[in-house]
């Protein structure tokens, strides 16, 4: 393993570690649930991303082969992180907020967690 490869891999590991740490720190520091939701969805993405890049570089430069697993982990992470955040946000809103706590939708019906969809748009696929 050449020195340059070592430096590159360690650089991305350290970057990943720092962002992972900051993301976890955000969970402690921020006050409301909605604020805390920001820190795992972002800071941790780059934290995991840094470790994945380091892993890809390691297998490429040392093992001499291209590894696709890291790309897949990235793909799955990007698919699941927003959905999880969305679920947590909705659960929080249903349990703790009233419709008056939120701004108006600006168009006819209210937010989907309180109001049903208007009749005309229910099933246009059948």
């Amino acid at each position: 393993m050449t020195v340059i490869a070592e430096i590159l891999v360690s650089f991305f590991l350290v970057v990943g570690g720092i962002f992972g740490l900051v993301g976890s720190l955000g969970l402690l520091k921020l006050r409301t649930t909605m604020q805390r939701l920001h820190s795992p969805t972002k800071a941790t993405t780059l934290g995991v991303g840094g470790v994945l890049i380091a892993s890809m570089l390691y297998f490429l430069l040392v093992g001499g082969m291209l590894s696709f697993h890291e790309l897949l982990i990235t793909l799955f992470l990007f698919l699941t992180a927003p959905i999880t955040a969305h679920f947590i946000a909705k659960t929080y809103m249903v349990m703790n907020l009233k419709p008056t706590d939120l701004p108006e939708t600006g168009r006819g019906p209210g937010w989907a967690i309180y109001d049903d969809a208007p009749e005309s748009e229910t099933d246009d696929r059948t």
């Binding site: 909605m34 820190s39 993405t45």
Partner: protein, 163 residues
């Protein structure tokens, strides 16, 4: 007939590629097995996916993904700065309502996912008729600006991608 056998060509291709990535080795056998999975899974689940979304401009989609990846890196740094250097009371979080021009469910899903992954914003819920999206912003003093950025930077390309 072909539409019946291959209801979602892009999904089939994606599944095959994901399979090849999972086994981490490209051989003829793996390619065949991947293709079988890529063909069988969409066929079996076609009943749950009645829509056939069409990508109108794949190149715009590729550029969009690249732009979002870059924005995610920026988002991480910005959120990290807010977490590290702002006092608790200085974080001005607020709700932002973004009216939507997009109509297809796939496009709205993309937009909501993008909003959650990028600078200091999380998409929380849609209005009941899916005409606006509620976004929670971690720190901003200019809600109108954030709304306009989302509309110009993310919604405009999505309008081109999904007809």
């Amino acid at each position: 007939m072909i539409a019946r056998l291959v209801p979602h060509p892009i999904l089939s291709a994606t599944l095959t590629l994901v399979w090849l990535g999972l086994v981490n080795k490209v051989t003829l056998g793996n390619l065949l097995l991947g293709s079988v999975l890529g063909l069988a899974i969409p066929m079996l689940t076609a009943a749950y996916w009645p829509n056939r979304p069409k990508l109108r401009k794949p190149l715009v989609a590729v550029r969009y993904i690249g732009m979002v990846l870059w924005d995610i890196v920026i988002a991480n740094v910005e959120v990290a700065m807010i977490i590290l250097f702002k006092k608790r009371d200085e974080v001005h979080s607020q709700w932002i309502v973004v009216p939507l021009d997009l109509t297809s469910p796939e496009a709205i899903t993309w937009l909501a996912g993008t909003i959650t992954l990028t600078p200091g914003t999380v998409s929380a819920t849609l209005s009941a008729d899916a005409s606006s999206i509620l976004v929670h912003c971690l720190h901003t003093d200019d809600p109108g600006g954030v709304r306009d950025t989302i509309k110009a930077r993310y919604e405009a390309p999505l309008k081109e991608i999904f007809p």
